[in-house]
């Protein structure tokens, strides 16, 4: 496609993002505004913002690319991404909001009354955030390479600059508006081209080149273990993602946190219909895109490939805009939550410290992104889910629902999960994608139970260390907010 159109699309998204970000500057005034928008964001806004933040490069580009490559096996990715929110709603949403904490480390410290637990959780949260930003930057590099012909590094650098400017300017308040806007932008940017492509295909009576069941790559299907392990990672990984959790603090109370999550589920289900449809259309009408080794670019290439002409160029521009909205929104959401953690734990918790931490949390993954190479986007994000599911998820679930959890138990469980899952990731990176056995490539099915088991056993062994604040904290987590005394 014409490089000028892609660059214009990226510039338009960046300017719109920055404009909404700076508009928010006039509203945010206090530290509370900066961190969590003073907890006054309405459910619809908040739900759109959560959707905007959650739909990353993996969802926008990766899902369709993976469907093109591996067919129905890949359909488990969008299902897992969505059902993860169901688990979050069932087990975490309302109690976490009621805990009144700003970040995951705040929660674990309050629940277990221990600074050491806080430090360990903070370290894990920062690792998760950085790991999750890297694929976003890879996505930006891929998009720039596939659509403009500029060198790849331009994409990640541009994303980091725009994110730093927005976050430093407005903090969370303006981020909420930016994210909400970007959900609807992403939905439009995918829905319009997909509907157009399908209409064109139906209109000119094109015959499918291959039935959907035919595999364009010759890779063997995933098998039961792979799908189950992937679902474990996605179902239990979502509720530990730092940028997702921080959004729940901006709900006014626990019940609205639930209502928000319900709306999020609707928004995600609606969104995933489109990459699914596009991936399937690509498999049937353009299976040769899979063999170019750039399956992740299928969303970007399909409109130009099948529609062509000026209409194709315009649709491509829209898709590029949506893709950059995905990189920008997820990266800025992660940067905000990482900056919150770093500035409170390492710096002094001031607005200045927050800004400094924000720049720091964006630059480190930029370095990583230059050092590493882009794998399948949906797959590398799936590994991050496995890591959160093995570390943050057990401490959240047991902390909210089990009175027996102790500080020693939490730390041993988190470290077990981090070592096992991190070890599997490193081993997989050394062995290379082709030679990694499936139990190392998808480790969640055994690392998550192991982390839970160690956490429970170590807590049992250190029963005497159950915090004295337990009763107060559990009451606070689970009782509805309205003051009990008013009606008496």
């Amino acid at each position: 496609m014409n490089p000028a159109i892609a660059i214009a699309a990226f510039a338009a998204v960046s300017i719109a993002t920055a404009a909404i970000g700076f508009h928010g500057l006039r509203i945010s005034r206090t530290t509370g505004d900066f961190y969590v928008a003073s907890r006054t964001v309405r459910p619809w806004w908040n739900a759109s913002a959560i959707g905007g933040e959650y739909l990353s490069a993996a969802s926008f580009l990766g899902v369709a690319g993976l469907i093109l490559l591996s067919g129905t096996d890949a359909l488990w990715f969008p299902i897992g991404y969505t059902a993860g929110y169901l688990m979050l709603l069932l087990f975490v949403a309302a109690p976490l909001r009621r805990s009144g904490a700003y970040t995951i480390p705040d929660f674990t410290e309050a629940r277990l009354d221990s600074r050491v637990v806080r430090r360990v959780t903070s370290a894990v949260v920062v690792i998760v955030g950085w790991l999750y930003i890297v694929p976003q930057l890879h996505g930006a590099a891929l998009t720039i390479r596939a659509t403009t012909g500029l060198p790849s590094w331009v994409g990640p650098v541009a994303v980091v600059i725009v994110v730093c400017l927005t976050v430093v300017a407005g903090g969370m308040r303006s981020i909420t508006f930016v994210q909400a806007f970007q959900y609807w932008l992403k939905l439009t940017a995918l829905a319009v081209p997909v509907i157009f492509v399908l209409l064109v295909l139906a209109g000119n009576g094109a015959q499918p080149v291959a039935p959907a069941a035919v595999n364009p790559t010759g890779q063997p299907p995933g098998g039961l273990y792979q799908n189950v392990s992937l679902l474990v990672a996605l179902l239990f990984g979502t509720l530990g993602l730092p940028h997702v959790l921080v959004r729940f603090y901006t709900n006014p109370d626990g019940q609205s946190a639930r209502r928000t999550t319900l709306i999020v589920l609707g928004l995600l289900s609606l969104f995933y219909l489109f990459p699914t449809a596009l991936g399937m259309a690509a498999r049937m009408f353009a299976p040769e895109l899979a063999s170019t080794g750039r399956a992740d670019a299928v969303v970007l290439l399909m409109p130009g490939y099948l529609v062509g002409g000026v209409a194709g160029e315009l649709l491509s521009a829209l898709v590029v805009a949506g893709a950059f909205a995905a990189f920008l929104s997820t990266t800025s959401g992660l940067v905000v939550s990482l900056a919150g953690v770093i500035s409170q734990d390492v710096l002094d918790g001031s607005v200045r410290g927050f800004r400094l931490a924000a720049v720091l949390s964006a630059l480190v993954p930029l370095g990583f992104a230059f050092l590493t190479d882009s794998l399948a986007l949906a797959g590398s994000v799936g590994m991050v889910f496995a890591f959160t599911a093995s570390t943050v998820c057990p401490v959240l679930l047991l902390g909210i629902w089990w009175r027996g959890l102790t500080d020693i138990g939490a730390i041993s469980g988190i470290l077990t999960g981090a070592l096992l899952c991190g070890g599997a990731m490193v081993a997989g990176a050394f062995l290379g994608a082709g030679d990694t056995p499936v139990w190392l490539a998808q480790p969640a099915a055994w690392t998550v139970p192991a982390a839970f088991a160690v956490m429970v056993l170590a807590s049992r062994a250190t029963r005497g260390r159950i915090p004295r604040t337990l009763t107060r904290v559990m009451t606070r987590l689970h009782t509805p907010e309205r003051p009990l005394s008013t009606s008496r």
């Binding site: 129905t72 299902i79 969505t82 589920l265």
Partner: protein
């Protein structure tokens, strides 16, 4: 105008809100809280298990019924329809039922705690 240094309230989760005082200080209050937690956990586990059973039933059905995966509806294979579209309403319905029941549990708790 003087410049004021704004600093994050550290660990705000530690401060005890007024609302919880009566609930946590009396034995009866704690009894109600424990029973609320138990019923919320039971509800969450039941909904999660129900969803997982349906989730597992989809591929099981495809594997067990011969020819079902190859059946096409309007040109789209049945397994694509089931996994690509069919599961999302199940997720939404589970979530909606859970929110209703969870709010009902809380309303019941409030009634109990207020009557005391």
């Amino acid at each position: 105008m003087t410049r004021v240094r704004v600093v994050a309230p550290r660990s705000s989760a530690r401060t005890t809100p007024e609302r919880a005082e009566s609930a946590e200080q009396t034995e009866v209050g704690q009894l109600f809280v424990r029973s609320l937690i138990r019923s919320q956990l039971r509800l969450a586990v039941v909904v999660a298990l129900g969803f997982l059973v349906i989730l597992g039933a989809f591929p099981a059905l495809l594997a067990l019924v011969p020819g079902l995966a190859e059946t096409t509806v309007a040109g789209i294979p049945f397994d694509w329809l089931m996994l690509g579209i069919g599961l999302y309403p199940v997720i939404g319905l589970s979530a909606w039922l859970f929110v209703r029941a969870a709010n009902r549990n809380e309303a019941r708790y409030r009634d109990l705690a207020d009557d005391r």
